[in-house]
């Protein structure tokens, strides 16, 4: 006897615990197996690119905080680099080091969130690893508050440096964090990194071949997990990255476990970068003194500034018409473009794997929809 079956279409999201914001996947299931998937987004579209055209160069910094709200610092950094390229200026060394330190701290915080929610989606009840991740992230956010008065929407960097030097009590607080965090990280690794359930759930699931990843412009940890050591911090060093040493963790077959593993390793490398920066940083100005509050670039000039954000290549393409605000500001957001491979990653896998794979790609809707 044959059982007549029919595919079932389900909307995962926009309100679903595991869609990282207001993201919707229209999925057709055959039993539990995904046969067709279509990402639908735009629920968080705020028109940042249009808004940027109506604000002056410094004001746009506040808009970038709200793109990838899990890593505001790196958004600021990418934007400020683009503006600096446009104006052909370079921040003073201390400013560069401060940017590097904060960007790496932000990378740690962002990866902790990514890993934490990835594990939450794997079904750790009530999110025990998530809480451990947040415990450490909280310390970083505290440092940010000390530095710039806000925890998430930092607006710390400005074209030409950072808005102000770190307060005197920042450095001891940073040292405290650097002492406490490796222990917490080791605890997290002991809890979950090689857990057998995690292994059977994630290894070999949703592999992403390297050639497809490159063709789909996938970047960041997702690309590195597929086996290519491509990191803009190495390839095109910006700020102080040419003065520090670090390794680029690389996965082998780009499955969920590799993506998770790459992030966990990057946290360690970021920690080392912060340490090196602290050892190297020297007193001096943090912001170019002669930049006016309202910046202007030469008409017709354009610049594409990009960084290795925690989620991949974050680029700002700025075009100037000589006015006080960018004529066009295109944001190349890694989260959106990493979603190009959604269909390849999800089709053929089960519902449970689908959720975990989405978590391992680690998208952020603020950045997808902009």
């Amino acid at each position: 006897m044959t059982i007549r079956t029919e595919p079932v279409t389900v909307n995962i999201g926009p309100q679903h615990p595991s869609t990282h914001g207001v993201f919707r996947l229209r999925v057709t299931f055959d039993g539990e197996v995904v046969v067709q998937v279509e990402p639908v987004f735009g629920y968080l579209h705020r028109g940042t690119e249009k808004l940027a055209e109506e604000r002056n160069y410094v004001q746009v910094v506040t808009l970038t905080d709200r793109l990838d709200y899990v890593s505001s610092m790196t958004n600021n950094q990418a934007y400020c680099l683009a503006v600096e390229k446009l104006l052909e200026v370079e921040p003073p060394p201390r400013g560069k080091y401060l940017r590097t330190i904060t960007a790496e701290l932000q990378r740690i915080a962002s990866h902790l969130v990514g890993v934490g929610f990835f594990l939450q989606e794997l079904g750790t009840f009530g999110g025990t690893p998530l809480m451990y991740c947040f415990r450490s992230r909280e310390r970083i956010l505290d440092l940010f508050e000390m530095l710039c008065g806000a925890r998430i929407t930092v607006s710390y960097m400005r074209p030409g440096g950072v808005f102000a030097d770190a307060p005197a009590d920042f450095w001891p607080a940073l040292a405290t964090f650097l002492n406490a965090f490796p222990g917490e990280l080791a605890e997290l690794e002991q809890l979950i990194l090689e857990n057998e359930i995690l292994m059977v759930r994630t290894r070999g699931v949703s592999p992403l071949p390297l050639d497809l990843a490159i063709n789909c412009s996938v970047s960041g940890p997702v690309l590195r997990a597929s086996g290519l050591a491509w990191d803009w911090r190495k390839v095109d060093p910006y700020d102080a990255y040419d003065k520090v040493e670090f390794q680029v963790p690389v996965g082998s077959n780009g499955d969920n476990y590799d993506r998770f593993w790459v992030r966990m390793q990057e946290v360690r490398q970021s920690l080392s970068i912060v340490r090196q920066c602290i050892a190297q940083i020297e007193p001096g100005p943090v912001r170019l003194p002669d930049l006016p509050l309202v910046l202007r670039a030469a008409p017709g000039k354009e610049a594409y500034g990009r960084i290795e954000a925690p989620r991949g290549e974050l680029g700002f393409y700025l075009v100037s018409d000589g006015g006080v605000s960018p004529y066009r500001c295109k944001i190349r957001s890694p989260s959106l473009i990493n979603l190009t491979v959604t269909e390849h990653l999800l089709v053929g896998w089960k519902l449970a794997d689908m959720i975990v794979t989405l978590g391992s790609v680690d998208i952020n809707m603020g950045e997808v929809d902009r």
Partner: protein
């Protein structure tokens, strides 16, 4: 180890040798390509062993009022070099140019976004519909002549 920004001249020379007439003009770091042949040009840029631009970093459209400019930021992961390719599309009613989806699948969402927000159609894209806004939205908000309904923002 550093990224090399390829000069417009070098790219233009190679491109012109392979596909005569495709390059409209070039500058120090930018080349303008005939929009009708953008797909062939991109295919060449991707597959030429000296250029090897396998990675499309970014694709966007800029509204210069009298024309639209579609900008491709390309990166070669193997040779660690980058280049900027542009194509000018004229006409405000229905500007269109061939899609590069078949060359780089990474262009998928970015082309859809350019259509959605800027109104530049990419012919040959398998799923050319709105991406951020809903179907039925009137106009393309990133165009310079788009007026936000009820715009009364102080900076508007």
């Amino acid at each position: 180890m550093a990224l090399k920004s390829l000069g417009g001249e070098e790219v233009a020379r190679r491109l012109e040798a392979a596909l005569p007439g495709v390059v409209e003009r070039w500058e120090s770091s930018v080349i303008w390509v005939n929009p009708g042949q953008i797909r062939e040009a991109c295919l060449f840029l991707r597959d030429d062993p000296h250029l090897d631009f396998q990675f499309l970093s970014s694709l966007c459209a800029v509204d210069w009022v009298e024309h639209f400019e579609v900008v491709y930021h390309l990166t070669s992961l193997r040779k660690q070099q980058s280049a900027v390719v542009k194509a000018r599309v004229y006409g405000r009613q229905s500007p269109s140019l061939p899609s590069v989806y078949q060359v780089w699948r990474g262009a998928d969402f970015q082309e859809r976004e350019a259509w959605d927000l800027m109104g530049v159609r990419f012919e040959g894209h398998p799923n050319m519909k709105r991406i951020m806004l809903w179907e039925g939205f009137e106009g393309h908000p990133l165009r310079k002549d788009f007026l936000q309904p009820g715009a009364n923002l102080p900076h508007g």
